[in-house]
Symmetry: C2
């Protein structure tokens, strides 16, 4: 599978972006394939199901774009891009355990294939590979941010479990602040690592590194808000899982929170959430204007991300980061 | 609980060792308590059940002893000792998931208390904390070894699952080499991190760092061999779990391998292993002389560990490492 294919909803803008990082992404893809190509008769097949050709490669693309703006050899930059993607993959392996997910994008998860125990260990193994790639950049600031990111992601997932019905909260008590804290940890922290971490690696100024942090943070939040919107607005075929999966597993996301806080549902809210009828709940969200309200928040986040790019040197790379931010709110999956 | 209490089977020798590292161990204990003392209403109670006062602190004691032999401030050394202990704790949290263990040393495991999903995430969180402590030593070689250790431990656990009956192997096919490779990853690698990692941190010579690696490797192997012997020779009260737990979960360890390879069981082996009668299997191991043979291997490993200490500066610390190695084969649990 061509990694380019997945992040090309607006062919013209995206073609430019991908031309800039195509070589680096090919390198990442080759390294992932090589990692999976081990003689170990148990580990090898498991790595082959999660590593090669399986994702959008959006996070390494971000790292590679930022890397082009500074002074650094191809080697450290490729280690950085690979480390970011491996950390992403490791976290997906564990997320599928936590969510007891049997499929992801329509394919069987590692958890479904090999069971709980081995999936836990393969995730740990991938955390190690990710850490080793970050260490191979030889930049202690990068490694520090990596270590913090790992913790932020786990904390975000713990918050997520906490916010789920059956955790400490109900659809009535999950706050907008709690939602953003949760997705900041579980999703945005990795975008921050890709952007800020690479800024540190290529020796950018403090103002530029701060700009990249803000860009990554807001881009990551917007990305997750859109993901949570798509869980209501997509079809099952597009999602590779049933519509309303978040609600089915008790996760209350931004559309529901906004519908509740802004009283968008004309008093029908309590009735819908007193049943287990997820289809009814999804219909209510779609009819209430909550999707439009959530989209507006994503647009505001994207606009904050784009503003944060100002300190960066003007050029095709900055334009590409700018275009990528817009893409996030327009993507279909 | 006083961490000193647990590693004091031979009061005189141990008193000397512990006097050398008491201050550092107290610092580790205080840092662990502080880590658990978070405001987070979900994470806090979970960390409190796994972090403070729960272990032997053997691995940080090793790091602190090695640290006393070189030139390094108290701060980096404490980060190292804490990082090693946190990595150990994180791996135990995931091991209990992998083994579906409800109790450890007689107390409920985190897995039993909070379930699979949260235990996976708390383990990940602790990997992050461990990584952050290693990064706080500001020594990239230490962090590199940490990252490799994380992978070696996961690989060892995967090998372990592979060697279990129901995995790819049976009691007839698990080889001695496979056994040592497995315990080298799952147990000895962490002893190597504690010893070699601290040697790197305090700027020892290459010969000394190599010596510490060999010491840690062989000490760790011996430690696990004894652990696997105790699973046959201890009482349920001493173990905090049933005698023969390894066999019960299908794990074939050194005593069984030696009994088979050296034909110590007078032909009764196949009959015992064709049943599910673990008590019969345990009795056969005890009667066969396999325990004595395994003990001899542990003694040989300890002797290799002690020889590897030669390049280190003579003094109370080297004597203490030497005494600790002997302790390993004499410990009761």
């Amino acid at each position: 599978m061509n990694p380019a294919a997945d992040i090309t909803p607006q062919p013209d803008a995206m073609r430019t972006i991908l031309a800039l990082v195509r070589q680096g992404l090919s390198q990442v893809e080759a390294s992932l394939a090589k990692l999976a190509d081990t003689d170990d008769p148990v580990l090898g097949p498991m790595l082959s199901t999660v590593l090669p050709g399986s994702g959008k490669r959006l996070r390494p693309a971000l790292a590679l774009l930022v890397g082009r703006m500074g002074e650094v050899g191809a080697d450290p930059l490729n280690h950085m891009a690979l480390g970011v993607e491996l950390l992403h993959t490791a976290s997906l392996v564990h997320d599928d355990i936590v969510d007891e997910s049997d499929t992801r994008h329509g394919a069987a998860t590692l958890y479904a294939r090999v069971g709980n125990a081995l999936a836990v260990l393969v995730g740990d193994y991938l955390f190690s590979q990710a850490a080793q790639e970050c260490v191979a950049t030889s930049n202690l600031d990068v490694v520090r941010l990596f270590a913090e990111t790992l913790g932020a992601m786990a904390q975000g997932q713990i918050d997520d479990a906490n916010g789920q019905l059956g955790g400490r909260h109900t659809w009535q008590t999950v706050s907008r602040e709690m939602y953003y804290r949760t997705i900041g940890g579980k999703t945005a922290s990795l975008f921050v690592l890709a952007c800020q971490g690479t800024g540190l690696l290529v020796g950018m100024s403090q103002a530029q590194v701060e700009g990249l942090r803000t860009y990554g943070q807001n881009l990551g939040l917007a990305f997750q808000v859109i993901d949570d919107i798509l869980d209501f607005t997509s079809t099952e075929a597009e999602l590779g899982k049933p519509v309303g999966s978040d609600l089915r597993q008790g996760t209350v996301t931004l559309p529901v929170i906004l519908m509740r806080d802004r009283q968008l549902a004309d008093g029908r809210l309590r009735a819908a959430f007193e049943t287990d009828d997820v289809e009814l709940q999804v219909r209510l969200v779609l009819e209430s204007g909550a999707i439009r309200a959530a989209h507006a928040e994503a647009e505001a986040l994207v606009s904050r991300a784009r503003s944060a790019l100002k300190p960066l040197p003007a050029g095709v790379e900055r334009d590409a980061l700018d275009a990528l931010a817009s893409y996030v709110t327009h993507r279909a999956r």
